[in-house]
Symmetry: C2
Subunit: 417 residues, 2 copies
């Protein structure tokens, strides 16, 4: 059952993945971590040992690799003997790493949709542009590829599947992501600013009345009164999981709502309107060609640096409506995470924590065979119950409000009895 795991990436999420793999290395076996900058990998391994996170004796080795080089990644998979690759590098490398897995037979797990540097917000459903084109290759080779296995996408897809499994018919899925934490900086993004801003500069696609609809960012907003964090303003945003859930549940309306404070919106609006969030190069008066978004990223705090002072909680969940035994039914399936707890456990803030724990749970389910699908799957195509059971144990417990927002609060396992 010990599989040998290769982690790709060395950012804030990789830090969490590394700690969580170490805490579960009895299931996952020897561990490897690789990124462009090997020293970042070494620092992560050092922090794992500092926390005494390795559950049983085992290896944890750092490597340098250019993850856009399929051959190099494939060679590293062969060299390390990795049977599971958890890819939490930048989203620009995803298809390169997946191709390396297909070439070597290793299982592939990622947490975000593939992105091409010079394109933003392509035709929906997004997964059809890159990932799903490789589904047949996975099936032919018997390669397990689990797409979007972070929190959102990832856990929220499992929340949707879980809720839908309790119904005869699903009508709508509204995913709501509220970070009520505070990092104390003038402005910072909670993960790679480049990826963060790219999420919000394009068209907001959502699925309603069995068709793709479009909004601009911040065009549609409402206040959601969520458990623990309380009433919070959230805006319809483009997000990966809408693009698989809409395909798998075309009868349901599928929307994603991200919480934003007025300050974030103001900063975002200024930067966007001036053109500073553009992924297209501009030329300075001195003739230097520069991509503005990369300069904004260089000016902003490193998301990993926010962790020590981050306080407060996140609440992310799915409000799912449908019909059961002829009656309307509503469920809110959710998790609350705490920034400070995350930092104390793995040295990261809560956003990295919620994104980094789920792919490790997915890797454990691949290792145990429960999710070893031998083909490509989005998370809603897999049984959510073993996933929830693991997440309950390793730090992201799933809860349910029976009757929807304001309803009776219980553990998911109590709900299903």
């Amino acid at each position: 059952m010990k599989k040998t795991v290769l982690i790709i990436g060395a950012g804030g999420v990789a830090q969490v993945v590394a700690h969580k793999c170490a805490q579960n290395n009895d299931v996952l076996g020897d561990l490897h971590i690789a990124s462009r900058t090997k020293s970042k990998c070494e620092a992560i391994i050092a922090s794992v040992h500092e926390k005494g996170a390795m559950k049983v004796e085992g290896g944890f080795t750092a490597h340098g690799v250019d993850a856009t080089d399929v051959e190099a990644v494939a060679a590293l998979i062969r060299e390390t003997g990795a049977q599971i690759v958890i890819n939490v590098g930048t989203a620009f490398v995803n298809m390169h790493v997946l191709d390396a897995c297909i070439a070597t037979g290793a299982a592939y797990i990622d947490t975000a949709i593939h992105e091409e540097p010079d394109r933003i917000c392509e035709t929906p459903p997004w997964y059809a542009n890159y990932e799903w084109k490789r589904r047949d290759a996975c099936t032919e080779k018997g390669v397990t590829a689990i797409l979007g296995a972070g929190f959102d996408p990832g856990v929220v897809n499992a929340y949707a599947r879980f809720a839908i499994d309790q119904m005869d018919e699903v009508k709508s899925i509204d995913i709501v992501d509220i970070n009520a934490g505070s990092h104390g900086k003038y402005f910072a993004t909670n993960f790679d600013p480049e990826i963060n801003f790219r999420e919000f500069t394009g068209t907001v696609y959502y699925w309603e009345d069995q068709t793709w609809k479009e909004l601009s960012m911040f065009e549609s907003g409402r206040t959601w009164d969520l458990p623990v964090v309380g009433p919070s303003k959230a805006y319809q945003s483009g997000h990966d999981e809408v693009h698989s859930l809409a395909v798998h549940y075309p009868q349901a309306d599928v929307r994603f709502w991200m919480g934003f404070g007025d300050h974030y919106i103001n900063v975002f609006t200024v930067l966007k309107n001036i053109g500073l969030l553009s992924e297209q190069p501009v030329t300075t008066a001195e003739g230097q060609e520069v991509i503005p978004l990369k300069v904004v990223k260089a000016c902003l705090p490193d998301p990993a640096s926010l962790a020590p002072d981050y306080t407060g909680k996140t609440c992310i969940g799915d409000l799912v409506t449908g019909v059961k035994d002829g009656h309307d039914i509503e469920l809110f399936v959710y998790n609350v995470a705490d920034h400070k707890d995350a930092y104390e456990e793995v040295g990261s803030q809560g956003i990295s924590y919620t994104a980094g724990v789920p792919p490790v749970a997915a890797a454990m389910l691949v290792a145990t065979g429960e999710w070893d699908a031998k083909t490509m799957k989005n998370v809603e195509e897999l049984d959510p119950k073993p996933f929830f059971t693991l997440l309950d144990r390793i730090g992201l417990p799933t809860r349910v409000l029976k009757g929807g927002l304001g309803g009776e609060d219980m553990a998911w396992s109590d709900y299903v009895g």
Copy 2:
């Protein structure tokens, strides 16, 4: 009396200078214009001919020159036979051009204080850091150098001198610059964004109680009720003229107030707090070294491009208080300019117009001998009356509110009788 003039620079202000020189080439003689990009100079000359701006027959020739190369500028002065250099290039080249004038004996006129690319907001008085160190060299060589002869600094220095000349004792000089115009863009600066932002990112120095005092930008604001433009919020800002007026009139408090709308302040605050207005390089994740401010500049509209759609008016003036015959006396000396009128006359917006007309008036006074000081002078050290007479005629009439703001409105010439 025909002197031959060399204009350095090819931006929005240079466009105005070129047109105004052409309109007065009976006094100024043959005209030359030089910048790094010769084609920009050719475009300006073409616009001069298009408007039929040349008053009498005469030459107007474009040149390419690197204005940071003192030898190259000196060679161009010799080659053209220029006796007057109007330097409206970027403020980074000022001392290079001045050195070329000192080397060749040509008169030098500029409109802004010299800046070094990597330094912002140096020790007050600013003129002592670069310009005044060359005063003795000017005197020895008999070179006329008129510093800061735009509108502010420039005309406002003459306004101060004029008002002080009406008093026995001066107590305070408050210079107020309100642009009540509208360019219709989300955000734009009225002149080179790099220079514009650099004005406001450093310490705000002002002179009070015979000592230099310091503020942060937007720390001190008040509403000024000015002629034509009406009540306008303005904030104490660092500005060149404070640094010469305080030295020449140490008994007076000297403050500069710049009008800003809430939108400008918001955009400025966001960009500054994120670090995007920094003149110090940052390194992107890809290893590219970039100066953020230069990227912001590349994203913003070219100030010259604002001209066709710019509407509204500017009001810039000096409120000067003092004592005359034992009584307190107050004068507001000012000009109102119109963006649309400026565009129709010379193809530029009002801010470029107010900055570009005065150095041409100064050049004409050097040509006629009235301001041919044979040494280095700030504008307040020169007789303001011939300057006002010329400005009245060539587009920037001077008016006076007797008794200060809200007082009786009259032409300066009526005030002196």
